[in-house]
Subunit: 368 residues, 4 copies
Amino acid sequence: MILEIDNTIGSEGLSNIRNAIENAGYSSRVIRGKDEIVLGIRGRPISQSLEEQLRHMPGILNVTRITEAYKEVSRRFHPADTVIELSNGAKIGDGHFALIAGPCSVEDYATTLEAANWAKEAGAAALRGGVFKPRTNPYSFQGLGEKGLEILARVKEETGLPIVTEILEPEDESVSLGGIIKLFEKYDVDIYQIGARSAQNFPLLYSLSKRKHPVLYKNGIGMNAEEFLQGAEYLLSGVWGESHNGGGNPNVILCARGVNTGDISVSRYPLDISLVPELRMKTHLPVIADPSHSTGKWYNVVKASLGLIAAGAQGLEVEVHPNPQQAKSDGKQAIGLEHLMQISKQGRAIFGITNSIPLEAVATAYYK
Amino acid sequence: MILEIDNTIGSEGLSNIRNAIENAGYSSRVIRGKDEIVLGIRGRPISQSLEEQLRHMPGILNVTRITEAYKEVSRRFHPADTVIELSNGAKIGDGHFALIAGPCSVEDYATTLEAANWAKEAGAAALRGGVFKPRTNPYSFQGLGEKGLEILARVKEETGLPIVTEILEPEDESVSLGGIIKLFEKYDVDIYQIGARSAQNFPLLYSLSKRKHPVLYKNGIGMNAEEFLQGAEYLLSGVWGESHNGGGNPNVILCARGVNTGDISVSRYPLDISLVPELRMKTHLPVIADPSHSTGKWYNVVKASLGLIAAGAQGLEVEVHPNPQQAKSDGKQAIGLEHLMQISKQGRAIFGITNSIPLEAVATAYYK
Amino acid sequence: MILEIDNTIGSEGLSNIRNAIENAGYSSRVIRGKDEIVLGIRGRPISQSLEEQLRHMPGILNVTRITEAYKEVSRRFHPADTVIELSNGAKIGDGHFALIAGPCSVEDYATTLEAANWAKEAGAAALRGGVFKPRTNPYSFQGLGEKGLEILARVKEETGLPIVTEILEPEDESVSLGGIIKLFEKYDVDIYQIGARSAQNFPLLYSLSKRKHPVLYKNGIGMNAEEFLQGAEYLLSGVWGESHNGGGNPNVILCARGVNTGDISVSRYPLDISLVPELRMKTHLPVIADPSHSTGKWYNVVKASLGLIAAGAQGLEVEVHPNPQQAKSDGKQAIGLEHLMQISKQGRAIFGITNSIPLEAVATAYYK
Amino acid sequence: MILEIDNTIGSEGLSNIRNAIENAGYSSRVIRGKDEIVLGIRGRPISQSLEEQLRHMPGILNVTRITEAYKEVSRRFHPADTVIELSNGAKIGDGHFALIAGPCSVEDYATTLEAANWAKEAGAAALRGGVFKPRTNPYSFQGLGEKGLEILARVKEETGLPIVTEILEPEDESVSLGGIIKLFEKYDVDIYQIGARSAQNFPLLYSLSKRKHPVLYKNGIGMNAEEFLQGAEYLLSGVWGESHNGGGNPNVILCARGVNTGDISVSRYPLDISLVPELRMKTHLPVIADPSHSTGKWYNVVKASLGLIAAGAQGLEVEVHPNPQQAKSDGKQAIGLEHLMQISKQGRAIFGITNSIPLEAVATAYYK
C-alpha cells in the first residue's frame, strides 16, 4: 500500500501515521519526493481496517493498494533504480553497465585465471564460475565443490575481481543449509547466484532473504515474469507465509536467462526480446541477462548480447572459456576473448544510447 | 551396461564375472530370464577397459551399452514392472490401479477426515494432503506445517489410509534437511512426495536416495520426459557425480502432472496424451498421473482422469474438497464425491481393458 | 443472443418476435425444449437497440448475450449434439463412434486398397488418404493430385467406404478455388478435410461455408481452443466481416491433432488430455482426434487413441500403412492391422464406458 | 550442390560442366569469387549419378552437397547479402536500414496520411497498412478491401512512400487468385506482405514465386526457423514437388514477428533474441523484425525495436496510429510519433554499431 502524504505534515503528523501502521502489525518506509512524501507499507496484504483508518487520518492525500502480487520488488513502491556496489567499487544497476564473465564451471586454476584476465581486460565487474553445479544427469560432472571455491578465492586475490558462484543447498544430508553458506563465507564469495533450477526453492530464498549479501537471481526455465518477480519478493520481503524473518534482502540482481519454450532449433532457452524491458519497468532492481545459456551457441552470443543491452539490460553474465572443446560443461556456448571484447566495446556504446531513453515516462503511463 | 550370459555358465563362472566388475569399482545385479542370465552393471558410465575385459570373458554372449542417460530407471535394465506395497496392503505398479485422493492442503481435521472418508469409499490406496506448500507468492497460505502432519496422522489412524505429503527442505535455516525428515518420520508419513518445484532440487533427491522410503516424484513444469527420468535416476542410483551414497531408492512412483507449455486457455498445465505411454515403455517404475493440477478445472477432471488411465496410467492423484469455494488453495480444481466415484468406477473398468494390452511387445520393438 | 420464450406464447407472438429480429437484419433459429422455447439469434454482434426492443416484447422470459467469440458453434446456442451421416450410413457425433483410417498419402492403388480393407475390417466409418499434400519443404512429395483422387474413387467403389481427403487451394494459379472443388465433386469426395496449415486460411473457410458438404476441420499447430472454435465459426456462420454468403455449413467435424508446443522429445505435436473434453463441453459439433500426427511414433498410437476416446473423443483419424518403411510420408507414425484392431476393439469398449457419463450436467454447471 | 572450380578452367571447361548439369535436368548459377569460381546447382535434390559424373570432371576442385533443407535461401549457396531496391530508391538488405511504419489497418484517408507523414519524418523506406485483414473471428473488422487500396495509392502519390500490404487469397470464390493480384497491380502495391497465417499457404507461395515482385514474408506463429526458411524456399525456388514454374522470386524480405509460445504475460508473440542473428547467418535475404505484433504492448515497442536492431535486424515493421484508442485493430500495440522518432534516431545509431561487426567470419566458422 502506498500513501501519498502532504509535504507540510510535519514530523509529529508523520509519526502518528507510522505508529498507526506499526500498531496494526506492519512496518513502513518513507520515500521523499519533490512535492510530497510517499510512505510504503511493507509486508503481507494490508487489512481493510487499517486502510479505513488511514483514509481518515489528516495529511494523507491518497491511499493506493498495490495490486501486483509483489511490492518490495515493485517500481511503484520503490521508484528509483537500486544500485549495488561490489568490493572492487563496481556498481550494478541504474546507469551502470555490469559485465560478469567467466567459465561455466571452475575446472582448474590456470583456465580460471586466464578467463579472469580476459574478464578484467573487458572491464568486467565480476568473475563467474560454477563450483556446485546442478546437473540434469547424476553421472555428469557436478563441479569441484570446495576445491573450486579455493581456486576462485585465489584468482580473486590476484585479479581483484569479485566472484559470483551458484549456491545450492547442502551437498550432503549431514551438512545443513547453514553449512554451505559457511563455505561461501569462508571463501568470501561476493555474489551468491540462485540458478534456474533453484528459482522456486523457497527455503533457499527465505534463507538468503535474512542476509544483505548480494544475490544474483535467475528465472526458472518454466517461470513467467510475474512468477519471477514473486520469487524475488521472497528475497526482498523476508516473508514466508505467516513467518517473517525480520530481514529482507534489498541487494538482489535479476538475471533473465531464457525459458524452455519456443524455437529450440534456434536457442537452448529462448529469451523473449520484451522480457528485459518489461522487468525494467516493473521493478527497480538491476536487470541483467545471460546470453550464453539462452543461445546455447557461441556464434550467436555477441549479437544476442548486444540485443539484450539495447533492450534495456544493465549488464550481462557471459560464459567464456580458453578451450571450449575441452570444457567440462557447456563448451558449445562459451566464447573467446575476441568476442568478449566486442561485447564489451560495442555493448557499452549501445548501452550509452539506449540508457539515455527515459524509462520513467513509459512506466508512469503504464501505471495509469 | 547389460551382459547376456550363457545359462550353463555355472556359479563359478558367474562369480568370476561379478568379481571382475566389482574389482573395477562397479556393482552388478542379476536378472534371471528363461533362457539366459542377464547381468546389469550399475552406477557411473562403464570404462572402456572393463568393457574390453568383459567382451573376452567366457560365457558372456552379448555386451550392450545402455545409451539412455539413465539405467536404474530404464526398462532395459529392469524389464519387469516395479510394484510398491503400502502399509494397508495396497499395491502400486504393474497390474494394480492406485487411486490417491485428498485435499490440496490440509486445512483442518473435519474436512480432512471427510475427504479421507470419500477416498476410502472410492477404494483409494492412500490419502494426499499438503502441509508444507511451496507457493509462488510469499504472502500466500503456505500450509499448516507440523500441525497438518498431526491431522494427517490422526485421520490415518481412523481410516487406515496411508498418507502422502510433500517434502520440501527445511522451513527454517536452523532446521537441517534431516530435521524435516525427522518430522515426517515422527508422524509416519507413508509416501514422501517431491513436487514440481523440487523436481530438480538435486540435494533433496540425493538425500531421499539414501532411504528405501516410498517417494512420489512429480515432473517439474519445465522438464521434458528425458529430464524427468534422469531426475528419477538420482533417486534410484544414489549417485551424485563422483559421490555414491551406497544406497539407491527403488521405491519410486512417477507422477505426470503437466507442463507449463501449450494451450493454457484449456489447461493450467497441459499434459500430453503420449507422456504416460512413453514413460511406461521406457521405465519399469509405476506411472500415475495428476489430472487436478493439469486441468486446473474441476469440470474436466473426470474425463481427463479416464483418458490418462486409458493411455496407461497405473493410478491417479486427485484433489477433492468438501467445500471447494472455501478451499485455501486450488479450489477451482477440486472435485466432489460424485465425480470421485465416477473416476473410481469407470476408471477401474477402463484400466481393466487398457491394461490387458501387452506393453512388452511394443517396448521390445522400440528398443530394436 | 439467446431468448427464452414462454411456452404458451402461440404462433403469432412467436412470429412477432422473429419479425422484429428479421427487420433488424438478423436471422433466428428455434430450439424447442421441454418447458420453454429457446430462440437463437444468428450472425454478427446484436445491436443494443434490438436487445432493448426484445427485452420489452411480451412472452420473452430472458435475454442472454453469448459472450463467447462464437455462437453457431456454441453448445449454448445449440445444446444437442450434432450428428453427421455419411453415404454408407455411418454416423459421426453424439453416441456414435467414428473410426477413420487410411494411409497418410495415397501412393498407389494396391496399398490404398489394402489399407481400405483393413479399415473396413476395423469397422471404420471412412477411408482417409492425402492427394494434395501441404509439405513444409518444396522438394518433398506433394501427393498424386488428380491421379490420387481416381485411386480413392476406385477404392471407394470396391469397398463402399466414404473418402476423406484434404482440400488445399488451387495447385496452380490458372486454377481458381472453384477448380479444385470441382475435382473433389467429380470424384465425389465425401468429407473435405481442412488441415492444420489451412486452419486459418479464411478464404478457404469462407468458401466451404457456402456448401453443406461435410468438412473435417483440424486445429492449426499454433492455435488454441478458442481460436479453433472461432475458425469453425467461419464455417458454420457463413460470415466474413461485413459479408454473409447466405449459407453457413452445419456439417463440421472438429479434429484435435496437437500443437507445436510442449515436450517434442515425446510427441511430434503434443495433445493435451483436456482439449477434447473442453471442446466437447463448449461445442455441439462432433469432436474426433488424430493420434497419428500427435504422437508421431507408431508405438504410442494405440495407447494415445484409447486415452483420447476415454477423454471424450467421438472418433479417431488414424494413419495405417502396409509397409511403413516405404511410405512416402509419415511412415514413422503409421500402424499396422493388429494395432488398428486393438484400437477398434478396446476403443469401442472404452467409448461405451466413457460415453455413458452425462456431459450435460457438467456443461450446465460450467455455464452458470 | 556447390562446385568449387579452378579459376583457370577457361570458358570451354566451364561450359562442359554446365552442359552436364543441364543435360541431367538441372540449372546452375555462377558465383565468381576472388580465387575460384563457385557454381551452384539449383532445384530438386541432385541425383547420385550426376554427383559421380561431376566428381570426375576436370577443373572441379570440390563438390559439396548442401544438407540444409533449402538452398536458394541459404547463405552457402549465395554468400553475399541480397539487396532489394524500392521505387523511392530506398534499399533493404546488407548495410541498409529499412524502417516500415504505418497503421495496422487502413481505416480512412486522414489517419493513413498522418501516419504516412510520421513515417516520412522518421525516414521510413515504406508505408504499411492492412486492407485485407485475416482475423481470428469472423465478426471482426476484416479491412476495407479495394477501398483501402485506393487510400494507400492516394497517400503514396502524396508522400512518395512505397506501400506494403498483405495479400490473402481471393476474398470470394468467384475471384481466382489472379483476381486479387490484379487489384494489387492496379493500385501498384510495392511490397506484397505474406502474413503469419498464410506462411504455409503453399499455393499462395507458389503463385508469388512466379513473379519478381518484392515480398515481405513473415513467419507463422507456430513455425520454427527451419520451417520459415523452407517456406521462403518455395518463393525463391519456384518449385512445388514435381512442378517448377520456371521462375523463382529472389526479392524476398524475411520478417521475424514472434511465435505463440513462451511467456504471454509479457508478449503477445514472444520473439527470441537469437532468431534474427540465426536467420542472418543462415540466409542472404534481408531480415527485418516486427516489434509491434511481438510485444503487443505499445510501451515495450521502443526497447524491443532497439534490441532487435542490435541483434542484427536490417529493418523494422512498426505499427503507428494517431489515435490508438480508436484503432479498429491492434490499438494496444500502436505507438505515436515521439516513440517512432526514438526508434529511428537511436535505432540508426545502434545499427551503425552492430552492423560493423562482420557476420562472415562467424558464418564461416559455423559452416565448418
